[in-house]
Each structure stands twice: as C-alpha cells, then as structure tokens.
C-alpha cells in the first residue's frame, strides 16, 4: 500500500519547495516547518515501504516518457537504505535549521532551496534509469550551488559557490560522456526489448553488460567514475568541498557531509556490475579512493577552521567508501554492502559532528579553533554528543564507525593478499590520522582554557534535540544493524538478471572465496556475493589484522591527547615541528594545491592557453564571423527593402514566383533532376 505512494517521496518536498518559494515569507520561520514536515512525510512513506518489502522484495514502477526513455521508480535494498538514511538525517537537519536559520531574512529562500535539494536527492536515489538519475544529479548540483552561495552578498560565498559549480561540472561532463557511450553501446546491441523495458534502465543495463565490448566498458566506467569523483569530492576534483563550507552550517551538514556527496559513492554502488565487468574499472576506483582517504586526512590535521577539519574528514571518509567499493575486485558484491554501511554510518556521525560544530559556532561566533577552548563548560549537551560523534569517526570500539570503517580496512587486507597492499597501507595510515585530527578538534574546542572572549550559552532545544537523536545512531547503529545490513545489501543484485561469474571473467578478477583468500588464490572463481558475512569470514584474517583498527583508534586518540588535552599534555605542536618545517608548511598550505591548481595551472596554463585562443578567436574566428554576420545583416536589410508596402508589387511577386517555379521545375525535369 505504501508502495503506491512512492512518488510522494519526491512529491512532498517538491510541494514544500513551491509553497516556501511563493508564500514562505508570509509564514513564521520562512515556512521551515513545511520543509521539515514534507521530509518527515517522505521518511514515513520510506519506512512504510521498508516494512512492506523487507527483506526479499523490490518495487519497480515505470511509465513511458518519450522515445527510448522512461520515468520510473526502483526501490531495491540499495535504494531503500539510502532513502531511509537521507529522509531521516535530512528531517533532523531541517528541524535543526528551524532553530539555526531563525531570524535570517532569507529563511524562506533557504527552506525553498533546501526542499528542492531534498526532492532532487531522493529522486536521484530511486531513479530506475541512468538518464533520470542524471537529471536529478544535475538538480542536486544546482541546489548545492544555490545553497553554498546562500549568503551571496559575501564575496567568499559567491566565489565558493562558483568554484563548486565549475569543479563538479568537470565531473558531470565526464558522467554525461559515460552515459552517451553506454547508450550507444546498448543501442548497437539491437536488443529485443520487452514492453516496459528501456535501454538505460538499470535492470536492462545489468542484464546486457556482458555483451558490451570490454574496452568500451572501461571507458564508460571511467566516465561514470569521473562524475562520482566530482560529486563525492575525490582527488583531484576535491578542491571545491572545503570551500563549500561557506554556506550555512546546516547546508554543510545536509549536502556536503551527509547526503549529496554520497551520491558519487551511490552511483558507483548502483553501477557496481558495470565497474566489476570493466577491466581495471574497480582498480581505478580503489586507487582514487585510497589515495584521497590519506591525502585529505593529512590536510584535516592542519586546518584551524572547525568546519574545514570536518570537510577534509568528509573527503577522506568518502575516499574510504570509494576504496571499499574498489576492493570489490577481490571480494565481489560484498564490497557494496561494506561501502554502503560506512556511507550510512558516516552520515549519522558526520551530520552529528557538523550540527554540533554549528551549535558551537552559533554560540561562540567564530569558526577558528584557536579562539575556542573550554567551550565544554558552557555547552554540555553539545560537548557530549560531539564526543560520541568523534569517537565514532575515530573508530573507537563498539561505536558505529568502528564497525563500518574497520570492515573496509579488513577487506582491504584481503585485497592486499590477492592483488596489492597499497590500498591497505593507505587506509591504515588514513585511519591513524583520522583518530588524531578528530580528537585534535574535540580537545582543542571543548577542553582547556578559554582562548578568547566568546558567547557562553547552550543552543536552544530545537537544535539540541536532533543532536541527541543523531548521537544515539552514531553510537548504536553499527552494533545493532551490522549483520542484517550486510545480508540485506548482499541480496541487492540477486533481484536482477546479472551473472557475476561471467562478469568477473570479463573484468579479469580473481575473487577471495567465502572461506578466505587461499582458495581463490589457487585460481577458483568463487563469487562472494552469497554467504554469511561477518564472524565466519572475518576469522579468515590473522588476529593482528582484526585487532589493528582498535589499536589505531585508541593510539590515535591518545596521541591527539598528548598534544592537545591539557590534562595529559606532553608536547606543544609548534615545538615539535618548527615553523619553518617544510612538511608542516606543506600541510598548512594544503600541498600547495592553491599554488599549483590556481597559481600555476589555472592562471598559468589555462589562462595562458585561453589568451592564445582568445587572440585566435578575435582575429580569426570573430573576424570571419563578423564579416559573415555583416554580410548576412546587409543582405537582410536589402531583403527588407523588397517589402515596399505597395500591394501591386506583392501581387507581381506572387505571379513571378509561380513563373519562376514553372520554369525551374520544367528545366529540372529536362535535365532529369526530378
């Protein structure tokens, strides 16, 4: 019954968007309650659908659109967990925003855009075909642009919005290229489609992957990966994400931490069979993910802006998820479950951390951690909820992050045994740094002495409430849901006509079998899609691999404490590394990315090329075009003179026209043209 209302999951937020846009400013708080209620409605419907189809059904509704395209809704396990997560987290954030945005003159605009964002994101998730997904993908990008630049009078916000838009555009062009390539390949198969089947529908794509030439598959996979890299802020298109923190903190939490940036990961998960079949497809995913995870973590270590720390942490964690998917080359579809589990868990604790940071900023009125310190005395709720979030992010045992992140590290070890240890090493180092930068942030904000004179009060209950709810999930979700989640997600691709054994031959994969790596290493192609995940399999790794993540988490937190917690402080960070230390300088400068990307690449290479092109353009292209348009316009002016306004001339033209046609056609017939 709930399934009949699936369209309302997008419909309700769209309604809220329209209402807020047109009548928002007549309503209290800019109509924010409408947006929150609409999202809550979507959550209720999603929960209803969950109760109906869990654990072994899917929903697929579709209607023709035009030509070869359709509009459809596909809710399978993958989409369902995303729907639940997004509606849940975004409902809480909208509720929080009712407090946070209170009094902002643009509140109505904020809630309208936020509602449109919610609708687009949900539409992206349950699209049943790639074209529809792309349309919502672009809408999400648009909303992100609008919301980053929400305070558009602030130059830095406007610049950040533009940067985000342009950078993700690079990815989107690649994504679109991938879609076009995929479409062309599908079309050239001359499939006999049944009624209700369309070329770009996911089930149809899954079923015919094996017929597409492998080289084409790799190209398509790289195109789609380009889109994912742009949207999920992976290296080298990550530069926009830290700047995106110029928007209101709720935007950062909603879009740039919990939901939108996960769209890239979701895309790779959704198209996992394609990446799996494409030779080197998953290798590229793993490489990008693992590198980004470490790279961003090092930058998180040195940032002073609390939101930037969290932004780098987001980039890094998204890298973990990408790497988790890439590791599918060794463990098969199990990787989807592992990566998605981290995605869901991450959105709980990252939303919590962002909202907590927002609560702090709301009170102390600065983003700079050097001006905070000792905030915990005045903001107990914020401090403890953020502690839970931080522990979860650092992967402290039995918190959500422990189950999700560390599972990725463990399967990365399997990948190492079979293929390559580099991702494992990168991820372990990144995990150490994660624990350190997280607690560097927590200690320096909440403990120690007040380093400046700031506002000393706790935030209102409408903001604390969502924090507490999120904290419950950041703590308990991993423990409570882990095994069910894996088995549910593992069943995702069983609903489709997709043969992973065949695909793994095309992709050239050697899988780790159900009972560990040894079997697969001897050459058996046992797909790991089936089977009990968790305890049995986990025991295949040596005990120290199991224990290592725990050591990493606790060690990292202690290390951070030694530097930043006044109770056990042993070292002063500025004395350990001198101000002129090149590594420290490099990290502070963010690997000189600004210098390289903006100074050298953008201003030097791109601008220089642009100058040359500009000269050619002005002198050659424009010159020719100007000449042409002058000629056309001159010609057009002469035509105008024919229109004399004298009706006799008009009738003459009519008669002449007939005569000319008679002559021309007769002649053409003579010479045999017609």
């Amino acid at each position: 019954m709930y399934a009949d209302y699936a369209y309302l999951i997008v419909g309700l937020p769209v309604l809220a968007f329209v209402l807020c846009l047109f009548v928002g400013w007549h309503l209290p708080r800019g109509g924010g309650f409408l947006t929150a209620l609409a999202t809550f409605g979507a959550l209720v419907i999603s929960l209803g659908i969950f109760s109906e189809i869990y654990p072994d059904k899917i929903i697929h509704q579709s209607m023709p659109w035009f030509a070869n395209f359709n509009v459809g809704i596909l809710i399978d396990p993958l989409a369902l967990v995303m729907l639940l997560m997004v509606t849940f987290v975004v409902t809480l954030i909208h509720t929080y925003a009712n407090g946070y945005m209170n009094g902002d003159p643009g509140a109505a605009r904020y809630f309208a855009e936020a509602a449109l964002f919610t609708a687009s994101m949900l539409g992206l998730i349950y699209a049943d075909n790639l074209l529809q997904l792309f349309i919502f993908w672009e809408l999400v990008g648009l909303c992100s642009y609008l919301l980053i630049g929400f305070w558009y009078r602030k130059p830095s916000a406007a610049a950040a919005a533009k940067k985000a838009f342009l950078t993700t555009r690079v990815g989107d062009v690649l994504f679109l290229t991938g879609i076009i390539l995929l479409y062309n390949n599908m079309a050239s198969l001359n499939l006999a489609l049944k009624p209700g089947e369309y070329l770009l529908q996911f089930p149809v794509i899954y079923a015919h992957l094996a017929e597409i030439p492998p080289a084409q598959l790799t190209l398509i996979a790289l195109g789609l990966l380009g889109g994912a890299v742009g949207k999920s802020g992976q290296f080298p298109l990550h530069v926009w994400l830290p700047d995106a923190m110029e928007g209101p903190t709720t935007v950062s939490a909603m879009i740039h931490a919990a939901t939108m940036v996960t769209a890239g990961v979701y895309l790779v998960a959704r198209m996992f069979p394609l990446f799996y079949a494409a030779p080197h497809g998953l290798t590229a995913v793993a490489a990008v993910g693992a590198f980004t995870a470490l790279f961003a973590a090092t930058m998180g270590l040195t940032a002073f802006d609390i939101k930037r720390v969290l932004a780098f942490s987001t980039v890094s964690q998204l890298g973990f998820m990408m790497a988790g998917l890439g590791i599918g080359a060794a463990v098969g579809t199990m990787a989807v479950g592992v990566a998605m589990f981290h995605l869901i868990g991450h959105s709980f604790f990252k939303a919590l951390l962002f909202l907590g940071a927002g609560s702090v900023i709301h009170a102390v009125n600065t983003n700079d951690m050097r001006e905070m310190g000792g905030v915990g005395k005045y903001m107990k709720w914020t401090m403890y909820t953020m502690l839970i979030g931080s522990l979860s992010l650092a992967g402290f045992p039995f918190f959500t992050g422990f189950f999700s992140k560390d599972e990725i590290i463990v399967i990365a070890y399997e990948y190492g045994v079979l293929i390559n240890f580099l991702p494992y090493i990168f991820l372990v180092l990144a995990a150490v740094l994660t624990a350190i930068y997280t607690f560097r942030m927590w200690f320096s904000v909440f403990t120690g002495k007040e380093r400046s004179n700031y506002g000393k009060h706790e935030s209102p209950m409408i903001m604390i409430g969502p924090l507490v709810i999120l904290a419950v999930f950041a703590f308990g979700f991993g423990f409570a849901a882990q095994s069910d989640f894996y088995s549910y997600l593992d069943s995702n691709f069983e609903h489709y006509d997709v043969n992973f054994e065949e695909l793994s031959v095309i992709g050239g994969h050697v899988l780790a079998g159900e009972h560990g790596a040894t079997e697969a290493a001897t050459g058996e192609h046992a797909p790991a899609a089936e089977g009990e995940h968790g305890a049995e399999e986990a025991h295949a790794e040596p005990w120290y691999i199991q224990i290592l993540p725990i050591i990493i988490a606790i060690g990292g937190i202690l290390t951070a404490g030694l530097f930043y917690w006044d109770k056990i402080k042993k070292f002063d960070p500025s004395q350990v590394t001198g101000d002129n230390d090149p590594i420290r300088k490099m990290l502070l400068k963010g690997y000189y990315q600004h210098e390289i990307l903006t100074g050298w690449f953008a201003e030097g290479v791109v601008y220089g090329t642009a100058l040359i092109c500009n000269t050619i353009d002005i002198k050659l292209v424009d010159g020719w075009l100007n000449w042409l348009s002058a000629w056309v316009m001159g010609f057009a002016q002469n035509i105008r003179k024919v229109q004399s306004g004298v009706v006799q001339n008009y009738v003459t033209a009519l008669v002449l026209g007939i005569v000319v046609l008679v002559v021309v056609i007769s002649l053409a017939k003579e010479v045999g043209l017609a």
Binding site: M633, Q637, Y650, G657, I658, L661, V664, I665, K669
Partner: protein, 499 residues
C-alpha cells in the same frame, strides 16, 4: 433522417448555429459583448469535446457523397484550430466587450468553421468553400478595430488573398478539366501524365493558393503588413490558425489527389522551404516592430513545416527506417508527423506570443503616440508585467526550438525525418536557420529582462493572463511529455499514406 449518423460533424454544426445565434442575440440585446464571448468560448469547448471523441478514429467516416471525411488527420487539425480559437476568444474577453463585439465573436466562429471544413474535405469544391469562408471572415476581422492601420492591413490581405484564390480556383478547374472529377480519390486514380505542361501549371496554381495561406516566400508578402496592422488577437488567429489551414488543405490535395506529381511538388517545396526559412529569418533580424518580427518568424516556421512535404516526396513508399524511438516507421510518415507536431506547437507558441503583444500594446497605446508594437516598449517588461514577460520568454525559447518545449519536439522529429530520408542538406539549412533565429528571439528577451523598465508596473488583464498561462502549460507539457503527442501525430500522418 438519422442525426446520430452525423455525430462526428456535430462540432461544425454547433459552431455554425452558435455563430448565427450570436449575431441574432447581439442585435437584440444591448451590451451583450461579454456574454457573447462566454457563449462562444463554451461553444468552442463543446466542439472540442466532440472532436476529442473521435480524435484517434481508426476508420475514416465519409459523409455527403464522398466529399467530407472524418479521420485522425482531420481531427488533429480541428483540434488545433479549436484550441487556437478558444485561446483567442479567452484573450478577447479582456478586449472585445462593448458594442459590436457580437460580430467579432461571430466572425471568429465562422472562420473556425471554415477551417474545420477544410480539414475534413476530400473534394476540391468543398475545400474551396471552406477556404473562402475562413478567408472572408478573417478579411473582415483584420479590419475590425477600424483604425487606419487596420484598414490598410485588411485591404492588402484581401487583394492578395483574392488573387491567390483566383489562382487556386484556376488550378482546380484545370484539374477538373483533365480528370473530370473534383474528388481527390478520383483525381488520384486518373492519369495526369497525359496532359503535358498543363499539369505542372495546374499544380503550381494550386500550390500558390495554399502557399498564400501558409505564407511561403514569395507568396508571403501580405503577411508582415497584415500581422502588424491587424488587431493583435486577429493576428494570432491568422498566424496560428488560418496559416495551418493552408497546410491542412495542401496535405490532402497533394498527398492524396496529386501524389502522382510528387516529383514536381517535391522540387517546388524543396525550393520554397529552403528559401522561405532563410529569407524569413534574415528579414526578422532587422525589424524593430515586435509583431513584424513575429510575422517573419512565422514565415520562417512555415518554411520548416514545408520540409514535411519534401520528406514525403523523397521517401514516399520507401522502406521503414528505425527511427529515434527504436520503432520502424516509414520516413514519410515521420516527416508528416514532424510537420504536424510543429504545426501544433507553432499554433500554441504563436497564439501565446501574439496575445503577449496585445498585452504590451494595451499598456502603451493609452499613454503615447508611438508605435505600440515597437521593441522599445518591451524594455523591462519583466518588472512591468511579470507574467506576460515570463510567458513570452518561454514562447521565444520554444519558437527557437530549445528543449523542453513543443517547438523543440516538432523540429526534432521533422529534422530527423529529413535526415532519415537522405535530405541532409535541407536539415543542415534548417538547423543553421534555427541558430540564426536566436538573434531576434534573444533580442526580444534581452529587452524584456535586461533593460530598464520603460514605465511603471501595470496590471495584467485577466483574459490575457488566463490565455497566456494555458498556452504556456501546453507548450511545456508537450515538451516534457512528448510521447503521446508523437504517437498521435504518427497516427494522423498514417491517414495520408497507403496502408
């Protein structure tokens, strides 16, 4: 007599009776203009409902000794005509309410009936009667406001129209002389090849008569002057409705009656289409009067639509092609369907655009001496009349063929059919022309949205707003959900091709 036998034609009967009734009531009652307007609107809605009933009729219903046929094609055109005249009547409710308005509505209804008769006729005499009924009504409408400009516009339209009708009738009589029949089916069956040059002359006289209504170059010269000088809402009727009547007639006569001469008319339309769209677009670039711009734009659009004939001539009887929708469709059918879609789209966009000019003119005429349609009056329209400006913006984009609008869908289907039938050169010309047309469409948009307002904010009359918004919804709806319209047009196109 069994009236239910004539059920498919009740719409025409209803509108004819209503037109007579409107004139009668109007002469009996004082100040009845508004009532007559509502009455006409209701009648048109009822007629539309009757047409909708037989919209996708699968087997043609033939009436009156094989002279009138009700089939998917005739119903397509009737739906277009009725929609246009409904929109015009709705907009007119804000303008024509006073004395004499009854005559205005009656003439509109008669014109509509005439166009509907043309859409259904499969006989040259019936067709001519319908043609003249529509023409005579619109001659009078063009002069309706009785300003000097009106009279000049109507006079030119009348003279040019009369000469064209004479040519057309001459062509018909030659055909009758050669074949001994005025029925299209009989003409098709007779062998026209035996009469030498006379066939070509007859063909071109007939084409000239239709091309006058379609406003193809060089039979277009009345159009800019008349569209500019006639009352704006009448121009909407002329550009959106009566122009399409020319296509309705040409489709039947050429594709059914004169299909044996297709190599001749293929060549004629290839030349006419290429010349018309190019000259129409070029001439539009230099105009400062918005209604003249729209007139030339509508000439250019007629050039695009004429591509449909060229495609049929080139691909008649050819094997089906696998079209963009993955289905096997004969390229000729696709070409006709594309032309029909563009006719539908253009009817909507042009009606909307002309109603927009009526709104602007109503803002200006009271205050100043200058030309009410001058483009300078459109400066800052977005702030002065936001709804009108926004609708105009969408119509301009649609006319230029930017997705997702009705204009895009029509052009897409039509141009791709040209490519499928090997007319790449024509498709290239058409696409270059579409790009060129942006020059003047964007010029209007830049005046509306980028210039400082030319005056204070004004109130937008209800009739105009309702008509504009309805048109806007239709234009965007067709663009976003084109499939059912494409199917409908393909079905209508099938009527013209041998099964």
């Amino acid at each position: 007599m069994d009236f239910s036998h004539y059920a498919p034609l009740w719409g025409e009967a209803l509108l004819t009776a209503l037109a007579v009734l409107v004139v009668l009531l109007g002469s009996l009652m004082k100040d009845s203009g508004k009532l007559m307007g509502y009455l006409s609107a209701a009648g048109i809605v009822a007629a539309l409902a009757i047409v909708a009933n037989t919209l996708t009729i699968s087997k043609p219903a033939i009436f009156f000794f094989d002279t009138v046929s009700v089939d998917a094609l005739s119903q397509f055109f009737k739906a277009v005509f009725l929609i246009v005249s409904l929109l015009v009547v709705i907009a007119s409710l804000s303008k024509y309410t006073g004395k004499g308005a009854d005559v205005y509505y009656a003439l509109l209804l008669f014109a509509t009936v005439g166009m509907m008769v043309v859409a259904s006729s499969v006989d040259l005499v019936t067709l001519f009667v319908g043609f003249e009924l529509a023409s005579l009504s619109t001659y009078a409408l063009a002069a309706f406001d009785k300003s000097k400009k009106n009279l000049e516009a109507a006079m030119k339209y009348f003279i040019f129209g009369s000469v064209s009708s004479a040519f057309m009738l001459f062509g018909f009589s030659l055909l009758y002389g050669m074949t001994g029949s005025t029925k299209l089916a009989d003409i098709a069956a007779a062998s026209l090849g035996n009469f030498g040059p006379a066939t070509l002359v007859a063909l071109l006289f007939v084409i000239a008569g239709f091309a006058f209504k379609m406003a193809l170059v060089p039979f277009h010269m009345w159009a800019p002057d008349t569209y500019e000088g006639a009352p704006a809402l009448v121009s909407a009727m002329l550009a959106a409705g009566s122009k399409k009547m020319g296509f309705a007639a040409a489709f039947r006569v050429l594709l059914i009656g004169l299909i044996a001469l297709r190599m001749e008319w293929y060549l004629a339309f290839a030349i006419l289409a290429a010349v018309t769209m190019t000259l129409g677009n070029l001439a539009a670039c230099w105009q400062d009067n918005v209604r003249r711009i729209l007139a030339y734009s509508s000439i250019a659009q007629a050039g695009y639509i004429a591509i449909g004939f060229v495609v049929v001539g080139a691909a008649y009887g050819a094997a089906p092609v696998t079209a963009f929708n993955g289905l096997a469709v004969p390229a000729a059918q696709l070409g006709i369907a594309g032309a029909l879609l563009l006719i539908l789209g253009h009817a909507l966009m042009k009606t909307g655009a002309f109603i927009g000019t009526a709104q602007v003119a109503s803002m200006v005429s009271a205050s100043s001496e200058k030309d009410p349609d001058d483009i300078s009056n459109y400066a800052g329209l977005a702030q002065r009349a936001p709804i009108t400006a926004f609708c105009m913006l969408i119509f301009m984009f649609a006319l230029a063929g930017i997705p997702p609008t009705a204009g895009y869908i029509g052009k897409f289907v039509l141009f791709s059919s040209a490519i499928y039938s090997g007319l790449l050169w024509l498709a290239v010309i058409a696409i270059l022309n579409s790009a060129l047309s942006l020059v003047y469409y964007l010029r209007i948009i830049s005046y509306m949205y980028l210039k400082e307002p030319a005056g204070p904010k004004v109130s937008e009359p209800k009739g105009y707003v309702v008509a504009l918004v309805l048109t806007l919804i239709a234009v965007v709806w067709i663009g976003v959900f084109p499939q059912s319209f494409v199917d409908w047009a393909l079905q209508a196109a099938a009527v013209l091709l041998p099964q």
